[in-house]
């Protein structure tokens, strides 16, 4: 019988004696480096810098009121200071006050939006051309974040449908895919766990709905940087993360786009993200919300209270499945 001899250990696999003896030192060095990094992260978290409300910008002209605005007696608009210091804009840092403190290098002017996909007018649109001849409206909307807080925000904007019509979409355009700018030179947020650039999407009928607006202003003034200047989406019956900011790309596509938060955790964040008190986030209830400035929580309303206008978009759909 042939007995095989075990192969020799290649010399390259033998641990150098020096390295072997230094393993303790290696553990100490690696441990020290990990500890230093960890303490750095922890230390930077104990910051005492105050959030800074956005400076007031240029007043927008010829802004008309809209019947889509909320009743301000029931839903009192939040203060400029709150709206411009309490932001989820991870490209500028993950804390609510980070964007207000780190948008200094961000330059939203000049700005170009690339339109492509299933449409006739594929072009790079300058912001001025998007706004040329476009009537602007005050749209005071309820804004519900997936994190259980909400605000009332006096946006200024115009229906997304106005812009889509100018792009002359083809019959293959079933969805709209939006992309946020990603430029680390202007956006100093460190790794947040999200994959950038940020992407969001809407079904074509949602995009064409009169409540869906492209936002260019706040409180009658040019939109502050931390709120997604110069162009952001507002879809008031959906959670805040659908309201994509600082849009640089609009594509008309045939298939449902994968949005950033869905990619991050598809069991927690879906494509539709309609506000729904009966469909919980896996880690917390969505039945109530804290309106910024209030102590007692409010009951969250289906479609954030816009059901009368938008419920028909989802007839026959299982909202638990399509969350």
């Amino acid at each position: 019988m042939l007995i095989k001899r075990a192969a020799d250990i290649r010399s390259s696999e033998i641990t150098d004696q020096k390295v072997y003896l230094n393993r303790r030192q290696f553990i100490q060095t690696a441990g020290g480096a990990a500890a230093a990094t960890a303490l750095g992260v922890i230390g930077s978290d104990i910051g005492l810098e105050a959030a800074t409300p956005a400076p007031h910008g240029r007043k927008l002209e010829n802004v008309k009121p809209s019947t889509f605005s909320v009743d301000q007696k029931v839903d009192k608009p939040n203060r400029w200071e709150d709206i411009t210091t309490y932001n989820n804009y991870y490209e500028f840092g993950v804390d609510k006050d980070s964007p207000s403190m780190s948008v200094g290098k961000f330059n939203p002017d000049p700005w170009t939006v690339n339109v492509s996909g299933e449409c006739n007018k594929k072009a790079a649109w300058h912001m001025e051309d998007i706004l040329k001849g476009q009537a602007l409206e005050d749209r005071i909307y309820r804004h519900r974040c997936v994190e259980r807080w909400s605000m009332v925000i006096p946006w200024v904007g115009f229906p997304l449908s106005d812009f889509i019509k100018k792009c002359e979409t083809t019959s293959n355009a079933k969805y709209v895919k939006f992309t946020t700018l990603y430029d680390p030179k202007q956006m100093p947020g460190r790794d947040s766990g999200l994959r950038w650039p940020y992407v969001e999407g809407l079904r074509m009928d949602e995009a064409m709905h009169p409540l869906t607006i492209l936002t260019v202003g706040l409180y009658g003034e040019v939109l502050p940087k931390q709120n997604g200047a110069p162009l952001r989406l507002a879809v008031p019956w959906k959670y805040g993360f659908k309201h994509i900011k600082s849009i640089v790309k609009i594509e008309f596509v045939e298939k449902e786009p994968l949005n950033t938060w869905q990619e991050q955790a598809s069991n927690e964040y879906g494509f539709y993200a309609n506000v729904n008190p009966t469909v919980d986030h896996p880690r917390w209830s969505q039945a109530q919300e804290r309106r910024i400035g209030e102590f007692f929580m409010r009951k969250t309303m289906l479609f954030n209270g816009y059901g009368e206008q938008v419920a028909s978009l989802y007839t026959g759909m299982d909202l638990r499945k399509h969350y």
């Binding site: 441990g31 990990a34 500890a35 990094t37 960890a38 303490l39 750095g40 992260v41 922890i42 978290d45 104990i46 910051g47 005492l48 810098e49 105050a50 959030a51 939040n78 200071e81 709150d82 210091t85 309490y86 991870y90 993950v94 609510k96 006050d97 994190e147 807080w149 460190r190 790794d191 947040s192 766990g193 999200l194 991050q264 955790a265 880690r283 917390w284 039945a287 109530q288 804290r290 910024i292 400035g293 102590f295 007692f296 929580m297």
Partner: protein, 199 residues
């Protein structure tokens, strides 16, 4: 002092208060766990006198953290069918807290962590140390190793996407517990073999 400890409050101060009290509880757990290694590595024995105080600070912040959650999160989201000052409010609050602890894993873990701190705080007095005896007291207070791990898990499970902070605390806790593991291994290695009982 308060603003310094809690950072500057944002537009959502109740959420800030909940987060900051929780993070400070974890920081004090880490500081407490660091004192023994610090003493052994530097020979600075006086430092151990602060251990009871930092440990009680951890318990204090953990309790505040829990109370903030009970008031700002559970109480604030109740219905008050019989008005706020009523037995039904107490019942509903207890039910709401209980259900949340049962239903949401990160809250289950966080609550368990707080419960592990209760016996430690209760036996923190000199009288209790004497009554328990040093050996048993030491054994009981090793429970804080479990607390530290539970708190890191609690933190890790509640963040949305950015794990850098819970990861940082996980590294710190791992290193601090690593010292204990290393020492206990070293002790068993260098200790003389236990003498056999002879009949």
């Amino acid at each position: 002092m308060w603003a310094g400890l809690t950072g500057n409050l944002s537009a959502n101060p109740l959420s800030d208060l909940t987060n900051e009290t929780g993070v400070w509880a974890l920081r004090f757990i880490c500081i407490t766990l660091a004192l023994t290694p610090l003493r052994r590595l530097t020979g600075w024995h006086a430092v151990i006198r602060f251990r009871r105080m930092t440990g009680l600070f951890a318990f204090f912040y953990a309790t505040l953290h829990f109370l903030t959650y009970v008031i700002a999160d559970r109480f604030a989201s109740l219905d008050f069918p019989d008005g706020i000052v009523a037995w039904s409010t107490v019942r509903n609050l207890a039910k709401s807290v209980g259900e949340d602890i049962y239903k949401r894993p990160y809250i289950t873990v966080g609550f368990t962590a707080l419960m592990t701190l209760v016996p430690l705080a209760a036996t923190s007095t000199a009288g209790m140390i004497r009554r328990l005896g040093g050996r048993r007291w030491n054994l009981l207070h090793r429970l804080v190793y479990i607390t530290a791990v539970l708190v890191v898990i609690h933190y890790w499970w509640l963040v949305k996407s950015d794990i850098s902070r819970p990861l940082a605390y996980a590294i710190v806790v791992a290193i601090l517990l690593g010292f204990r593991i290393y020492w206990s291994w070293w002790r068993t290695r260098t200790a003389p073999a236990p003498a056999r009982a002879t009949a």
